[in-house]
């Protein structure tokens, strides 16, 4: 299915290639570069490119292009999903998925790629299994390996691969047994000019960090499971149990993983925790405009709103901006025309605002549209949908684990049109 993989950095160098069947010449990437040039923006490169003999399916992750070469019909999502899984694995192994990290660990990268795909068909993609096969790099191990010349590929077949719970490795042992869950909810919203909500939705995930010995069998229940409208599960979750009792029952993989992601039905009214007052205007026939944005909290349920950042993509004709923030700091990049205002915490007593003048290219017509504001924020200890974890029970093991649940609400794709 997947024939070859090329990793390409932002400047267009192919710095790693891997072929699972016969070798495909690097020149096949020229088609990709052509498309990239045409697209102008990295995000606009079409994920699927058809060339005379091959099909190129690519993803863009962390400033890298993963370009795979396909020869025959295959569901494109299959390849895209796999490429993302590869990127996730690199992230998991090296802490980051960057060109430097990949180059530093080129041996492990090849070992991983070899193990993940067999003749173009995905073989072992679960991080738990891979980690048993190929040990993640540590300083000590790399020193030992370079002295002894041994590789870090394990000789034994991972036990999990054969069992019916392939995501968990066997023989896990911890002195401190812990299970932590992060309930992270993101508000996606579009607010129109007048401040009314065009569209709002809550997207949530529960990320887990499970460090438990043996084969624990966990069940997590919610106070109000009916809130969850649409849920997608990690394969470890017993679907039937959820269907009948709305309880998440699972034998967890070891380490960090995403347990579920869910959407809270859009029928429910979503409480928007901030409001924005804005007036951005460009004067006709003069090379300046006014910019005034104020941000304030709304219905924050007694919690403070932190980490507020406002990002604005200014029109191309904007040359420079001369602003004064009452709180935080701002930067304006004259090349990309991106204004970033790092506000920090919002206190209702003193509303932060950013005011000032915009310098425009002289002679150019005034911009048609006002730029829209993208807002980031974070509210600790709150799940905006009201979702609450009721309890976590563990079966199958005797010890008592430390348990913890953390709630965070963030802004997702939160956009204010002006």
């Amino acid at each position: 299915m997947i024939h070859s993989l090329f990793l390409i950095n932002c400047s267009g160098d192919i710095f790693l290639e891997k072929h699972w069947k016969s070798v495909v010449s690097q020149s096949v990437c020229d088609y990709f570069f052509e498309a990239q040039e045409k697209a102008a923006d990295v995000e606009n490169v079409p994920p699927v490119i058809s060339t005379p003999h091959h099909y190129l399916i690519s993803i863009y992750r962390d400033k890298l292009f993963f370009v795979s070469v396909i020869q025959t019909e295959v569901p494109p999502l299959f390849v895209i999903e796999f490429l993302h899984r590869v990127a996730d694995t690199f992230q998991d192994y090296f802490g980051e998925c960057s060109e430097a990290a990949i180059k530093d660990n080129v041996v492990i990268v090849y070992e991983l790629l070899e193990e993940m795909l067999d003749n173009g068909f995905p073989l072992a993609t679960e991080s738990n299994i891979l980690k048993e096969l190929i040990k993640p790099p540590t300083i000590l191990r790399s020193v030992v390996n370079s002295i002894t010349g041994s590789s870090n590929v394990g000789d034994t077949l991972p036990t999990g691969q054969l069992s019916n719970i392939p995501w968990r490795r066997a023989g896990v042992k911890y002195t401190n047994n812990e299970a932590y869950f992060d309930v992270v909810e993101e508000i996606d919203a579009i607010i129109d000019k007048s401040g009314s909500t065009v569209f709002a939705e809550i997207q949530g995930v529960i990320d887990a960090c499970i460090k438990l010995s043996g084969m624990p069998d966990l069940s997590l229940s919610f106070m109000n499971p009916r809130l969850l409208d649409d849920v997608s599960f990690h394969p470890c979750i017993r679907f039937k149990r959820w269907e009948s009792e709305r309880v998440l029952s699972f034998i967890p993989p070891d380490g960090n993983f995403r347990l579920i992601s869910y959407r809270v039905s859009s029928q429910n009214l979503v409480a928007i925790p901030v409001y924005v007052k804005h007036s951005i205007s460009f004067k006709e026939n003069s090379s300046c405009g006014r910019f005034d944005v104020t941000i304030g909290p709304k219905q924050n349920m007694g919690k403070t709103i932190e980490g507020v950042t406002v990002t604005v993509h200014m029109p191309k004709v904007v040359l420079n901006m001369n602003l004064t923030p009452t709180q935080g700091s701002y930067t304006f990049d004259p090349v990309t025309k991106v204004l970033t205002w790092d506000v920090g915490k919002i206190t209702p007593q003193k509303l932060p605002s950013l005011k000032g003048l915009v310098n425009l290219q002289s002679g150019a017509p005034k911009p048609e549209e006002n730029p829209s504001l993208n807002i980031q924020f974070k509210i600790q200890q709150l799940a905006i949908s009201g979702l609450k974890v009721n309890r976590l029970d563990m079966y199958g093991e005797k010890y008592k684990p430390f348990k913890g649940v953390k709630y965070v609400t963030k802004a997702g794709k939160f956009q204010v049109r002006t």
Binding site: S50, E73, D118
Partner: protein
């Protein structure tokens, strides 16, 4: 290579078989001549029952022989049932294969609907009526088509849809998409809706995923608009989306627009028009145009909006608007003279060639609506003719020709001027057009015939263009495929076949025994009705695999046991005698049951002679072989092999009655009292040594053997004294589970003596027992003599004092003393009690905390059905079943014999196989051990 693959394909380990499946396409790509052999291997691996192999082998199937759909028939149901447990990559491959399969094997679920709905759909083109049509209209229409027989979905088709549905919740976008396309292609219209939610969820994912999903949603939304309508807002566009995503979302929004939601959609479009992304703005304008054509009500609004855009500063926007307006005006030109005039004014400013050309065409086409302006425009254009783009020049010629025909007085000179200019143009296309036009419109001597019709040629009424989505006809490709995305056939694309007219024979998928793990109710029922034997026997044929799966093993066991029961293993020559044996066995068995029904008390005494009689009768047939076996007995090595044979010959009647006993217990599963009607002498089937042999063969099945053979006692027949050690006296024991007559606290143990020596054994009795504290024994009455070849049974009672300590005692004959010990399994230390559900709950409530022991377990496929669970639990422990309201829960209750403390067992089994076993008992030790035993029995 081929040999290696073949060998690996029948390996014990599923991982090896998986790897073998991976090797198949590799070998195929190296040497395609081996295809036939490879297909054999694939066929074999397809029959594999492990989830690990399924994905890989289907992948190999798709690469090597996707056309051999016949290989799937037998495995179809199995694949459907396994699907949820296969790893993600395998799921994708299997689902897309099954989609194709289903298209060839089942009838279209929409055949009735599609016929009916074509009419309303045409009548209300562009409206939402088709989705809103209630069932009522369908019924009415169905009545109108009485000839067509009502559609009934094939149960296998339903099975596929049901089993794939949970996968919509997968974390993998590829799986979700695969299921979505399966539903889109296979599900009846009413059910397709479920996929919308999942697809919308994917829109939160990486932009590449969004891109692919939106492409597919765009295609779906043309056909099934109602499906995505509730999610309209999810397709709203953010300024941060990449352009390609924006354009796809726009496509979907346009497809979803209808009479009711058009105001909101248009309001959204208005915001988009002011975007900085000009490509996107252009696409939006086109989208508005499409909405206007599709929804008549808003046409004027759209047109006005577009006209306002004509004063936009951005030329691209204006140009795009002009092009769209041109298309819209073609639909109803009469009312729009004003707009045409406005457009004509724009010719001075607009530089985009396409827009200029469009304006010129419009003026030419509707020159009678703007009789004054048109010649003036032509004058201007003639002036700038040389500087225009080619496409504009062509339209100038066109305009000139049309004006010449309608208004030749004013424009004759201008036309001639333009044509002259065009004659010497650099572009041959323009020169050609000029020459052609001149001949047509300017009357000359020869060309008179054509020029008379020139007006008809140029000013014929033209049909309005239809603004269509570029995704309109994409759905002939399988959704989610690369070909669909590229809108071109990719190499290796498997065409999605059309539904068959007539359903192919559904029986091809019938495997003799339906998979009973997660199958439909229908099948479950069928399965229940089936007698036990045909059930296990039917499994053997096609589904047998290299897999060391307990099911298949148990089946072979049961076979071998039945064989041994009927004495088949004795020499082949005495077939007839066997038959005789069987008949006798059966008759005696029926006799037994009759008698037992009436006089239970008499039973014990009656049994012994019966057994003797039967034993002797069977001996007639097997004399020759038994003598031969005796002659061989001297050599120790052969002894082991001969032994079972000789034993079997001695116990054929008991062997016969064991299956009978089984049948009894299986027929009325629900009341699982240890049947007191149980024959006394022969509750066991196979001789100890045979059981021992089987145990030697396979470790895993050892607990299964007894449970299958004699469901009465989990422990089966245990050996107390081996024939060799006992110098010809073989002794074994069973727990009969009957109350011991002398002392209710005692466990009654049946001791079976067999004399295989050639001298009679005399004076069998129990010698001085050395017992741990509390344990006591009620000895059996002395057996005076046991003649050679004879066997007999005695009952003794042991009070184990609720512990599993062994009772050691001596077995004495006249000449010898043997030290023996009996260790009871914990399950035998109790007796069933009967209570109602409420009592059970009440008692259970009292026994919580320390007294409650809980264990999680996963039931293997083989032991998920009701009767297997009940059978296994009751075989392990002497408990009585307590009726239970819920179907997934099993309850059992009993009391320990000595102290009479309650033992309550609850098994909460989910259909997925996960189960929770809870034992509540005052005796914690017993509880713990019981949990261990039951879990072991259930999971094996």
């Amino acid at each position: 290579m081929m040999l290696a693959i073949k060998e690996a394909a029948s390996d014990m380990s599923p991982y090896v078989r998986k790897t073998a499946a991976h090797a198949i396409p590799k070998l195929y790509s190296l040497d395609s001549d081996q295809k036939d052999q490879l297909i054999e291997v694939i066929e074999k691996l397809l029959a594999d029952k492990t989830t690990l192999v399924a994905g890989s082998v289907v992948m190999a199937f798709e690469e090597v022989c996707p056309e051999r759909i016949d290989l799937i028939h037998k495995n179809y149901r199995k694949l459907c049932n396994l699907l949820i447990d296969v790893e993600e990559w395998g799921q994708v491959v299997i689902i897309s294969m099954l989609t194709r399969y289903a298209r060839t094997q089942f009838l279209s679920p929409t055949q009735n609907e599609s016929l009916l709905e074509e009419n309303p759909e045409k009548a209300f083109y562009g409206s939402e009526e088709d989705e809103a049509k209630g069932p009522g209209s369908e019924e009415a229409a169905a009545a109108a088509l009485p000839t067509r027989k009502p559609y009934v979905m094939d149960p296998d088709h339903r099975l596929l849809l049901r089993n794939t549905k949970p996968l919509l919740q997968s974390r993998s976008a590829a799986v979700v998409m695969a299921v979505a396309q399966l539903y889109f292609h296979l599900a009846p219209k009413a059910e397709v809706g479920v996929i919308a939610k999942a697809l919308v969820r994917l829109l939160r994912s990486h932009s590449e995923v969004q891109y692919v999903v939106l492409q597919n949603v765009a295609t779906m939304s043309i056909k099934r608009r109602g499906m995505f309508e509730p999610y309209l807002k999810s397709f709203y566009i953010r300024s941060t989306d990449p352009t390609q995503i924006k354009i796809l979302k726009l496509e979907v929004l346009t497809n979803l627009a209808n009479e009711t939601n058009i105001p909101t959609v248009l309001r959204e479009f208005q915001t988009y028009i002011r975007s900085m992304d000009k490509d996107f703005v252009a696409a939006t304008i086109q989208a508005i145009g499409r909405c206007a054509t599709n929804i008549g009500r808003v046409r004027d609004t759209c047109l006005n909006g577009l006209v306002q855009l004509l004063s936009n500063r951005d030329e691209l926007v204006v140009a795009e608007s002009v092009v769209v307006i041109k298309k819209l005006l073609q639909m109803q030109p009469a009312q729009h003279g004003e707009i045409i005039k406005h457009l004509a004014k724009l010719t001075d400013n607009i530089q985009v060639p396409m827009a200029r050309a469009s304006i010129l065409w419009l003026i030419g086409e509707y020159c009678e609506h703007v009789p004054r302006i048109a010649p003036d425009v032509l004058r201007k254009m003639a002036k700038s003719f040389t500087a225009e783009e080619d496409i504009v020049k062509l339209q100038v010629i066109n305009l000139a020709a049309k004006l010449y025909l309608t208004n030749s007085k004013q424009t004759k000179l201008l036309t001639q001027y333009v044509l002259s200019l065009a004659k010497y143009d650099q572009n041959y296309d323009i020169r050609d057009r000029a020459r052609f036009t001149r001949q047509l419109i300017v009357p000359s001597e020869q060309g008179g015939a054509l020029s008379r019709h020139a007006k008809k040629l140029f000013l014929a009424p033209k049909p309005a263009p239809v603004l269509e989505s570029s995704f309109k006809d994409r759905d002939h490709f399988q959704l989610g495929s690369l070909s669909h995305l590229l809108n071109a056939k990719a190499t290796g694309y498997q065409e999605l076949p059309d539904w068959p007219e007539e359903a192919p024979d559904p029986s091809v998928r019938n495997v003799e025994v339906p998979e009973w793990t997660k199958c439909s109710n229908r099948e479950k029922r069928k399965e229940k009705e089936k007698p036990f034997y045909s059930d296990s026997e039917g499994e053997s044929g096609p589904t047998e695999s290299a897999d060391s799966d307990p099911e298949s093993e148990s089946e072979s066991d049961s076979k071998s046991s039945s064989e041994s029961g009927s004495g088949e293993s004795s020499s082949e020559s005495d077939n007839e005698d066997q038959d005789e044996d069987e008949e006798k066995g059966r008759s005696s068995e029926s006799e037994q049951s009759e008698e037992e029904g009436e006089k239970k008390k008499m039973k014990k005494r009656k049994k012994v002679p019966e057994g003797q009689r039967e034993g002797s009768s069977s001996d007639e047939g097997s004399d020759s072989s038994s003598s031969s076996s005796e002659s061989e007995m001297t050599s120790d090595t052969e002894e082991e092999q001969v032994e079972p044979a000789s034993w079997r010959k001695k116990t054929p009647p008991s062997g016969k009655s064991a299956p009978a006993a089984k049948e009894i217990s299986l027929l009325d599963l629900e009341d699982f009292t240890p049947p007191s009607v149980q024959p006394l002498s022969p509750p066991t089937v196979v001789s100890t040594s045979l059981a021992a042999d089987l145990e030697g063969l396979t470790l895993t099945d050892s607990p299964l053997v007894p449970s299958l053979l004699s469901p009465v006692s989990g422990a089966g027949r245990q050996e107390l004294l081996h024939r060799v050690a006992g110098e010809g006296l073989a002794v074994d024991y069973t727990f009969s589970r009957q109350p011991f007559s002398g002392d209710p606290h005692m466990v009654s143990v049946h001791i079976h003596f067999s004399n295989s020596s050639d001298t009679p054994i005399k004076g069998l009795h129990v010698g001085t027992p050395k017992l741990p504290a509390g344990i006591s024994i009620q000895e059996f009455p002395e057996i005076e003599s046991l003649s050679p070849g004879e066997s007999t049974t005695a009952i003794m009672g042991i009070n184990f004092c609720d512990s599993t300590q062994a009772a050691n005692f001596q077995l004495c004959t006249q000449t010898r003393q043997f030290y023996v010990s009996i260790q009871p399994p914990v399950g035998e230390l109790m007796a069933p009690v009967f209570m109602s559900e409420n009592e059970f709950k009440k008692e259970q409530g009292k026994l919580t905390g320390m007294n409650e022991i809980t264990e999680k377990l996963t039931l293997p496929d083989a032991s998920r059905s009701d009767h297997v669970v009940v059978q296994k639990v009751t075989a392990t422990a002497n408990l009585g079943r307590v009726p239970c309201g819920t179907s997934d829960e099993y309850r059992f209750a009993g009391r320990t014999l000595t102290s009479g403390s309650l033992v309550l067992l609850t098994l909460d089994a989910r259909p997925t196989g996960a189960a929770q076993l809870t034992v509540n008992s005052e005796k914690m030790v017993i509880g713990t051990m019981l949990v261990k035993d039951v879990v072991q029995a259930l999971t094996q």
